[in-house]
Symmetry: C2
Subunit: 154 residues, 2 copies
């Protein structure tokens, strides 16, 4: 729980520094988010947060998510499926690629250190200063194809 508390403190501090208020709803949403071990959607986060504090509304979840991503506590992943995914940003690196299994719908985070290099190289040729990079690989599950069952299937 120490890393959770450390992150929660970081969140409290962030809120205070920004002149934002520390509300029960924001804390519930935060705790719900950091209890997750997999990627989750805004709608799922609403459910999780309501289990902690049932006064949490959808609007507040949507209003809190940008705060948490701006403070780098959460990472936002858009795999182009209509809805966005989020997950706790425990580690430090920002150079991460996503591998999306089209069968499991699972998202794997893999380091891709060369991304930053590529971004700067390519952008400097265009007279642009890179802000962020995203690399995503869509793939099919080998085990599912061979045995008909995906071991990661939820």
């Amino acid at each position: 729980m120490s890393s959770l508390n450390a992150s929660r403190d970081k969140f409290r501090k962030f809120l205070t520094q920004k002149g934002l208020r520390v509300t029960n709803q924001r804390l519930a949403i935060f705790d719900a988010a950091f209890a997750q071990k997999e990627h989750f959607t805004a709608e799922q986060l609403l459910d999780y947060a309501r289990a902690i504090d049932d006064s949490v509304s959808r609007a507040t979840v949507y209003r809190t998510l940008p705060i948490m991503t701006e403070s780098a506590l959460l990472r936002e992943v858009d795999i182009g499926s209509g809805e966005k995914f989020y997950y706790p940003n425990s580690g430090g690196t920002t150079q991460v690629a996503q591998v999306v299994c089209l069968d499991c719908d699972k998202i794997f985070e893999i380091s891709a250190p060369f991304m930053e290099w590529y971004g700067s190289t390519v952008s400097s040729k265009l007279g642009l200063t890179p802000v962020s990079q995203r690399l995503q690989v869509s793939a099919h599950c080998d085990t599912l194809r061979l045995t008909g069952t995906c071991p990661r299937r939820s």
Copy 2:
């Protein structure tokens, strides 16, 4: 016009082979798409297609876009801005990265040959067979920052 006709023939052939009908609307949408030199949205394509055949409806545009992307005549780009972008897939390579200027809103297509290698490497470690990769770099315009005007601004 020869490359346009070649592409249009490819489209006719694709439709026929799939048992789909060659309609005026589909041809108008196709011609509109291949007249573009920049990325365009579904809504823009509707406008362009209506200039050729004003009977084209929004529904048909949305129903035709998947056909054209599946036949690899169009490439779909999702930069996570709510709406998807498309552009004629003239070249052959599928290993392309997008550099998105946050000031111009322009999208540049840049080759990134190492993407395939990275995709296979990473996916094979996870027991997955890569289907597609996307690499996107978001960047700010240097000229805009320095002079206050973006030379590419439309």
